[in-house]
């Protein structure tokens, strides 16, 4: 028992509630939320180090023993995810200080921001399937409010779809949970894993597994359920769309990885190597084709979320330690890089007043720092060494060839090429060419906007150059989640 595990959940809870009370004082709100975001970041780093050194930490909430009460489990994967989520959230928060309009601040932007974090951190840490649903809902309700925040006509129209698809997915989620309960009689993930292994009912378990996959695929933006994503991420201001693009779909991916390594590992040949791999291939391909066909900065980035989520799921589908480690490394790389790119789109929009690539041009001359920072990040996204993108794609594709999954590996290579193409399209349209913005816009100082993004750019370079220790860490994470007995033993203490 260690109460530290719950701090990443209740700390934002308390801060969010306190921020509601000081809604009239904008400056105070900024100071409090900035300091608490940094504290939360420090806390999540400490938790990650602690779990790395001492092993899995389990907290039985309310002192009820494991299969009956709700448990929170901090293993390597969940602490890594909490760390990344907090990092992304902190960066976006500091970017929001400079860009979010005072009207939005007045309408509870900061409290909602922290409530979103409760849901995200809770979903990563919980060890109970129903509790996972609850934290998903907390996250979604905060995200409904944030995605419509500001209330422009476009936002209202697109977030309506976002709400509908997510409410539907949540309904399916409940159905899947009820079904699981009726089959196994438990919802504690460790207990479930144990019982699923004992139950020799592959058929019905496969149905439940696929139902869960559909639910999480809807939230994570997988083929063919990604259609809501590019449009709804286009509407809100840069800080919010960067947070969503970096964070929210990855919660769905985390849930897939968690359930399909811990619980539904009874029929890997079917669920992983056929279903998940196929879905991953289509997701990558359609996502990148969508990106290639777009001519809008933010839309290209939104479609790339889809194609890259495909890589992560592909790593899970191949299901060797190398591939899963690659998927985990990819999540880390993607969250960092994608958030940075969305924020660069926000900066470019602030300068030129548009995100349409055809109306942009010549940013390289007027804002060289922005251009080169974008260039580094874009190359990293496309997977050019020595940035982190290369070291995340390489093990996944390598594992694909080792496991004789040639088609999917070929698709992954092609998608990498097309990613490079569409990133270069952004670079050549927005940064090269004739200057299309006015002289006044050209003189706009953006140093303060780039400052919060700089750590992310630095991280993608560090993740690339220090690939070996980072990859060994993700290999360790992969080995831990692929051996469910560690998780089960630490929760049920047998």
């Amino acid at each position: 028992m260690n109460n530290l595990v719950i701090l990443p959940i209740i700390f934002p809870f308390v801060i969010g509630a306190v921020l509601i009370l000081m809604i009239k004082h904008h400056k105070l709100q900024r100071i409090v939320s900035g300091i608490s975001a940094l504290l939360l970041l420090a806390l999540s780093i400490y938790l990650a180090v602690l779990v790395y050194q001492d092993g899995v930490i389990v907290l039985e909430m309310g002192n009820w023993p494991a299969p009956f009460g709700i448990v929170l489990v901090a293993d390597l994967l969940s602490t890594l995810m909490v760390l990344l989520a907090t990092l992304v959230a902190t960066v976006c928060l500091f970017f929001a200080f400079k860009t979010i309009s005072p009207e939005r601040e007045r309408f509870y932007f900061y409290p909602l921001y922290f409530f979103l974090l409760i849901g995200v951190n809770g979903a990563f840490l919980t060890g109970d399937l129903f509790n996972l649903f609850v934290f998903f809902e907390v996250m979604l309700i905060a995200s409904y409010a944030l995605i419509v925040h500001g209330g422009t006509a476009y936002q209202l129209r697109e977030s309506f779809k976002y709400v509908i698809i997510n409410v539907f997915a949540s309904a399916l989620f409940i159905v899947a949970i009820a079904w699981t309960y009726s089959i196994t009689g438990t919802l504690n993930m460790a207990h479930l894993a144990e019982r699923v292994a004992e139950l020799e009912q592959a058929g019905v378990l496969n149905v439940v597994a696929i139902l869960f996959l559909v639910v999480f695929a809807m939230k994570g933006g997988l083929f063919p359920l990604y259609f809501w994503l590019p449009r709804s991420y286009y509407g809100p201001p840069a800080a919010i769309s960067a947070l969503f693009g970096g964070l929210l779909t990855k919660v769905g991916i985390y849930a897939i990885i968690r359930t399909f390594t811990l619980i539904f590992n009874h029929d890997i040949g079917y669920t992983h190597k056929i279903i998940i791999v196929t879905i991953a291939g289509f997701t990558m391909l359609f996502g990148v084709l969508g990106a290639v066909s777009q001519f809008d900065f933010k839309r290209i980035l939104s479609y790339h979320i889809i194609s890259q989520v495909g890589y992560m799921v592909m790593g899970l589908g191949i299901f060797t330690p190398l591939a899963v480690a690659g998927a985990i490394y990819y999540i880390a790389h993607h969250m960092i890089v994608k958030t940075a790119l969305f924020l660069f789109a926000g900066v470019a929009q602030k300068i030129t007043g548009t995100t349409d690539l055809k109306q942009m041009g010549g940013l390289l001359k007027t804002h060289p720092v922005l251009a080169w920072m974008f260039f580094i990040t874009a190359l990293s996204l496309a997977g050019i060494p020595p940035m982190s993108g290369f070291f995340s794609k390489f093990p996944i594709i390598l594992a694909g060839f080792e496991e004789a999954q040639y088609v999917i590996s070929g698709v992954a290579l092609l998608v990498g090429l097309l990613t490079l193409f569409s990133m270069m399209k952004i670079f050549s349209y927005a940064f090269w060419g004739k200057q299309k913005h006015t002289e006044e816009q050209a003189k706009m100082p953006i140093g303060q906007l780039l400052l919060p993004i700089a750590p992310l750019v630095a991280l993608t370079i560090i993740l690339g150059f220090a690939a070996e220790p980072m990859f060994l860490y993700s290999l360790e994470v992969a080995e831990q989640i692929m051996d469910p007995s560690v998780y089960i033993e630490s929760v049920l203490k047998e």
């Binding site: 028992m1 109460n3 719950i6 509630a17 009370l21 039985e60 309310g62 002192n63």
Partner: protein, 146 residues
């Protein structure tokens, strides 16, 4: 041409509302207190209180209600959240897992033997959140017309 406002006669509604609100509020407090062992609790008690307050909004005019209930409902949500999570944190400070429940029997004057639990402040927090958010939602929609 300006439309003439029709003034309605609310005597019936207002007379009944006074009695009804009293009954509903009493019952909602009962539900709140019964919560941790019997059917009831902060959520259902809060909803019932909110419905009592809504009858008030239907029967009387805004000015009077603002005078009778001088709270900001959104602040109420914040206070409720803090109260609920504070109960959990208090047990953490004593070295137990988050949200561990404690209870004991006390002899209080008038009420006699009473079971007091730490679930009660938690429920009270939930109650405040529910009343605050239900009224915020309904009043936001109601004020939209003007």
């Amino acid at each position: 041409m300006k439309q003439k406002q029709i003034k309605s006669n609310d005597v019936m509604l207002q007379t009944f509302a006074r009695i009804l609100i009293l009954i509903i509020l009493t019952f909602s407090i009962y539900l709140l207190l019964a919560g941790h062992n019997n059917p009831g609790g902060g959520f259902i008690g809060g909803l019932m209180t909110a419905s009592a307050l809504l009858i008030m909004y239907l029967a009387f005019d805004m000015k009077m209600i603002k005078k009778a209930i001088p709270f900001n409902f959104i602040t109420m949500i914040g206070v409720g959240l803090l109260l609920a999570v504070g109960t959990g944190i208090a047990t953490m400070l004593l070295g137990y897992p988050f949200l561990t429940q404690f209870f004991d029997y006390f002899h209080l004057p008038i009420l006699g033997e009473v079971e007091l639990t730490t679930a009660l402040p938690f429920d009270l927090g939930v109650y405040l959140v529910v009343v605050g958010s239900a009224l915020t939602i309904i009043l936001t929609i109601a004020e939209d017309d003007k």
